[in-house]
């Protein structure tokens, strides 16, 4: 049998030396005007992006910024949907907007296929992953996920106040994705660092960003080597053995897809779980209704996904294009804020209200077009189970300190600090 030397040292050592692509000036600090100087990295956006997006939708509706080397921000559902569906004019070769644009030659594969891939390559790279992420396939993970959620609630002990983000929401997808990829469960806390660096580290100095991203690459490469030595039934072994057009995948494809699954599989779902619990902690009527009608959870969670959609995605303009009045130039970024699409009153009745029994809910939380979140069925399973277990075990809870809640900035928004009171603090009466 031929030795599999795709992952040998000489193939990836040059990675750190070569950095083709274009760096742009890092601009941070207060936004002067959201229509012409927007930034999704500033604290006002993290705290309340909705009022900014609502205002821009009326004023612009496509905002611009010179930050990040030039970027656009559509805010209406129609514009966001049109760009998400338009792979002729908008490339996915980079999908995290920052101050580095990878070289054009990286298309159509991109660094983390298939999310960074364009047609026609995209189709086959995505097809490889789809069977592992169908509703039917992920249903086998429901029972262990439920058991894990119960163990997290058990671990909260008898404290009155707990952090529903750090001690619950964030831990669930970490464990699920670690199991799927076959990584040690105790590495979970590192994943949070990797995700934070990837998603929130975009304004770091270039060398610092490279160093941090390299840490992720080398972690994944070590996992690949462990799987080469000890093959087992998981997604990492699957990717090592997978073939496209009769050829095994390049190391960059294997590790790039592992990066995607790890980063997209953790903070996103954690944000959805956290935002849902935040809503319920602050809205006792909705919380009481759901504890009384647990069968409503699948409907209510779609409304949480609409109203608090965690994810925005970016594109790069392929060639100069006039898009609905905006003169977009080659390699401008376009940020697609799916949360803004989901709150467009032209698309949704009472768009700014959370209606937990909303029957018609054509939201775009998982994106639109060919890049629909490949893990959406997994995310929905995790969100449903996380909410069911929490509501069953802790039917009564509230925000312990609303001003202490902290939301992440950037393209994945969710609470990373969420203190909730789960007991009255009074001595419990004997029952």
């Amino acid at each position: 049998m031929a030795v599999d030397n795709r992952f040998a040292q000489e193939h990836w050592e040059k990675r750190d030396k070569e950095s083709p692509g274009r760096h742009t000036e890092i601009i941070t600090g207060p936004v002067s005007d959201w229509a012409s100087d927007f930034s999704h990295m500033e604290p006002e956006w993290a705290t309340d992006p909705y009022s900014i997006q609502d205002e821009l939708r009326v004023r612009c509706p496509i905002a611009h910024t010179d930050r990040f080397g030039g970027a656009w921000l559509p805010t209406s559902y129609d514009d966001i949907a049109a760009i998400a569906h338009d792979t002729e004019n908008f490339s996915s070769r980079a999908i995290i907007m920052g101050n580095f644009r990878p070289p054009r030659e990286l298309a159509p594969i991109g660094g983390s296929p298939p999310i960074t891939s364009d047609p026609p390559f995209h189709h086959d790279a995505r097809k490889l992953l789809l069977p592992a992420f169908t509703k039917t396939a992920v249903s086998t993970l429901e029972s262990p996920t439920r058991a894990f959620c119960h163990s997290l609630i058990d671990a909260l002990g008898d404290r009155d106040v707990v952090d529903a983000a750090a001690e619950y929401a964030q831990l669930i997808p970490m464990r699920v994705i670690a199991d799927m990829l076959g990584f040690p469960p105790e590495d979970g806390p590192q994943f949070r660092e990797f995700a934070k660096n990837t998603l929130e580290g975009i304004n770091l100095p270039p060398q610092e960003r490279v160093t941090r991203m390299s840490a992720l690459f080398y972690y994944l490469l070590a996992q690949v080597h462990d799987h080469l030595e000890n093959p087992r039934e998981d997604l990492t072994t699957f990717l090592i053995n997978a073939e496209l057009n009769g050829r095994k995948l390049d190391v960059s494809h294997v590790v790039g897809t592992m990066t995607l699954l790890l980063i997209a599989g953790t903070d996103t779902t954690a944000s959805a779980i956290g935002a849902s619990l935040w809503h319920l902690a602050g809205n006792p009527r909705d919380r009481e209704r759901l504890t009384g009608e647990p069968e409503l959870v699948p409907v209510a969670m779609e409304e949480f996904l609409r109203a608090y959609a965690p994810v925005s995605m970016a594109r790069l303009v392929k060639q100069d294009v006039l898009f609905r009045g905006a003169e977009m130039r080659t390699d401008d970024w376009v940020l697609l804020p799916f949360p803004a699409a989901n709150r467009d009153p032209a698309q949704f009745d009472r768009a700014d209200e959370v209606i937990i029994d909303r029957d018609i809910n054509r939201h775009a939380a998982f994106g639109l077009g060919i890049h629909r979140c490949v893990g959406s069925h997994l995310a929905r399973m995790e969100l449903r189970v996380a909410l069911q277990v929490w509501l069953e075990r802790i039917p009564s809870f509230s925000l312990a300190d609303a001003s202490a809640v902290r939301w992440s900035a950037g393209q994945v928004r969710g609470p990373h600090k969420l203190p909730v009171r789960i007991r009255s603090g009074q001595p419990q009466a004997a029952s």
Partner: protein, 69 residues
């Protein structure tokens, strides 16, 4: 009154799965998670509300309900 029939436009479906989440008697998923109508897509009268709900919740507008009045 002619029977209502469901069709999925495979060129639009992206596998969101809202149809087979909401109307399990009318839709299923294939091995890649794309939606498919069960049987010949005929909708029994008592399932018409489920069929309409699936149509109206598809993010890609990929489902059509044809026939009827």
């Amino acid at each position: 009154m002619p029977e209502l029939k469901l069709q999925i436009d495979a060129s639009l479906c992206q596998g969101n799965g809202r149809c087979y989440d909401l109307a399990t008697d009318l839709f299923g998923d294939d091995e890649e998670g794309y939606g498919k109508v069960l049987g010949d897509g005929a909708v029994p009268p008592e399932k018409e509300d489920d069929a309409r709900r699936a149509v109206l919740n598809c993010p890609e507008h990929a489902i059509r309900l044809i026939g009827g009045t």
